[in-house]
Amino acid sequence: MSILVDSNTRVVVQGITGREGRFHTRQMLDYGTRVVAGVTPGKGGQEVEGVPVFDTVHEAVARTDANTSIIYVPARFAPEAILEAADAGIRLIVCITEGIPTLDMITVRHYLRQVGARLIGPNCPGVITPGESKVGIMPGHIHRPGPVGIVSRSGTLTYEAVYALTQRGIGQSTVVGIGGDPIVGTTFLDVLRMFQDDPQTEVVVLIGEIGGTEEERAAMYIRDEMSKPVVAFIAGQTAPPGKRMGHAGAIIAGGTGTAAEKIAALEAAGAHIARHPEEIADLVATLLGR
């Protein structure tokens, strides 16, 4: 078992003829992901890396039974790409694109909730279930199957944690990058619930950062409803207030959204706090008795 993606995942790549789309389609195919279709309006009939390209997501779904979309479309067109996927019946949409206007995401999120589609991201590395399916831009080879579920707002910081675990022989059930924007489709809380219900996942790693209050919300769920152990790391303890630290959502504002508050909430909820990224693997190893 795993969450979100597995060997039955049939992927349509939106923006497949662009540089990023083409490159990562090759990478996903090499990993063994079933990439069944691509979409670029006006380029239907072509092939990219042996994958048929369609003009619309509707057509791609009708012809290939794609059930999951990954989006590499530039920021100004990405909101429309997400809506098109949802309208075509796709129920899991992964949006890699960075820099989508926040107000566009308000409308998109609202619509997705109406139709019951799940969005991962935007501004995220995607989702991987090691050994089964990679729907994202993460380096696949650093992962291996195992009992640790990871959910994170960051990209390379997550790769660090995965790499350290794999080096110690500890694999991952599913790794989910929820994205660094202020408004994202899927929150820590959503993913924690899925890991709690996933039989393969024994330990959960939560990697948060400054800005917003989603880590605090996650802490309440950990405290009240979660039986699996959680290891947490929060980046940005040295970040000054009022400055955005790379991610649009990473900002301490009005004294809230600080790392200290998030760490305190998670610690009080019983999560095991890593002081730096390399401690994540140490704590997980201890919890797994290795």
């Binding site: 960051s154 790769y159 919300r217 040295t238 207030p241 955005r244 504002a253 809230t256 390399e278």
Partner: protein
Amino acid sequence: MSPPLNRSPCLAPPLRPSYNGGCDLISFRSAMTTLRVGNAADVSGGEALNLHEYQSKRIFARYGIPVPQGEVATTPEAARQIAARLGGPVVVKAQVLVGGRGKAGGIQLAQTPEEAEAVARRILGMRLKGLPVRKVLIDPAVTIRQEIYLGGVIDRAQGRIVMMASSEGGVDIEEVAARSPEKIVRVAVDPCLGLRAYHARHMAQTIGLPRAYFRPFAEIAQGLYRAMVENDASLAEINPLVITDEGTLVGVDGKMVVDDNALFRHPDIEKLRDAEEEDPFEVEARQHGLSYVKLTGNIGCMVNGAGLAMATMDIIKLYGGEPANFLDIGGGASATRVTAALRIILSDPNVRAVLINIFGGITRCDEVARGILAAMDEVQPQVPFVVRLIGTNQEEGQRLLSDAHLVTANTLAEAAQKVVRLAQGTS
């Protein structure tokens, strides 16, 4: 707190029931959090474009919001002429992107054009929180019967714009939130409905406005909501919204923060950016597609990825050092980007040592190492470097760096300890 008025016919139930265990406080705080962003003083760099008061009020006026018909002056003489043209007492207001201008003496009343000139001369010579005052706004003074607050923010947790009003205007809304939260009314706006007149009437009634003001208040609140949506603002604030002795409503002070990511569709707003108020190196970094924030320590950092960059700063601190900057070079780590990043880091005279921490994922570490060496060849840094490369081909990458006599490290902890020692000059 009143419940948000967010039930709408176009809203299906959420995908999953939201988790409600004590979350009211959090969504409230989250609204407050975003709100603080409005204090222009508190936000810079990164993704937000802060507009000056006079710029914000000009935009508000286009949405039917009554604002004083003032003008901007850059010299005392111009201030006098504007005051003479306006007639009557004026308020001279420093146009600087910091909060607390009034308390710092940046906002003063003048009865005559001559006094306006003298006051403007004083204010134009000031520095407010380190920033020189280059412009003053000369507004006709208004009589004040009551000051109220009206603002809109993006609530991250709810994923909506939240409009807020309070009977206590003219002060920092967070003070009100901390002291008497019951005096703030909030409406989480359904994006497919927008802010309706009945929402605004509910707000007006809740903050105790007399019935006669319901209609003008609603027009202002709806105008402010439209100003936010149509200009991609993450915050728009009228504080205070004044009830004058004559019984009219006037937006006396205004503030807007616009989402950088939406500027492609607002070329007019992009032109309002005040580069004089930004850190020149943050501006240069933005031009290179790098994300850079200057800090006060002495260890320069170059990292790929925002989260990892923050974690690298944190571990430097954990081992007794102080980071000089946040810098995310993004994906790839090509020689040109690394060169630009090195120049920006080394432009800070406080930097005593530099830590480069790169997770080579799909990009191989030997390629990254070659990029770093090419950049160092060009920049010729005079301070010691510690480089940590992790990922594919890391042994090859580290060998290339060692051959070039750079200090390398395998773990982040080792890298941090080494760079802290180098910065302290003890190794």
